[in-house]
Symmetry: C2
Subunit: 118 residues, 2 copies
Amino acid sequence: MALQHASPGQVIALSPYGSQIATAKSIALFKSEDLEVMRLVLLAGKEMPSHRVAGEITIQCIEGSVEVTAENATHVLRPGHLLYLSGHSLHAVVALEDASILVTVVLKRTAGQGGAPA
Amino acid sequence: MALQHASPGQVIALSPYGSQIATAKSIALFKSEDLEVMRLVLLAGKEMPSHRVAGEITIQCIEGSVEVTAENATHVLRPGHLLYLSGHSLHAVVALEDASILVTVVLKRTAGQGGAPA
């Protein structure tokens, strides 16, 4: 995730990687005050094990297909499908085909943040 | 915007309207604790005049093309293009072609909210 982040007002192209997907990398597109937006690449069979994030998230399939398991339900996302999950939802993602997905996370800032954990 | 909102974990299809776009309506897809997500339809020449919202927003073009003017810069968004704008950014959108766009707004909740303006 070494690419430079986009700035406000900068156009980000989300065209499918298509035949280039095997060498594409997951990238962080931007992280702003309230949002973190990533484009993740998951090749067929790859999995993001079950995890939670504090904020709400949306997952949009750009290409390929993924299976999202969240709150004891399983959904298959194909291109153009969007799913949103509440904050703290336990969710896992597995790629059924080579896939890239757009993930938007609402950042939860707490009054006490800023101190790194020891 | 009379359609029922999606719930967390419900798959929302964002396929282009294509030849049906002339009769498609702008819809609110969901409004959650922190996000409001809408799919807006703007037929060629239609404009959303300059306005601001408190929270950060992303605008993603699903089909057609729109011109977004924000903070004294103008950007053309085509299918698969994503733009994010800081909170309180003055922005206007005009459709160059019949277009549908996905707009995600971070809701800003303030301690004093809840009281309706008189």
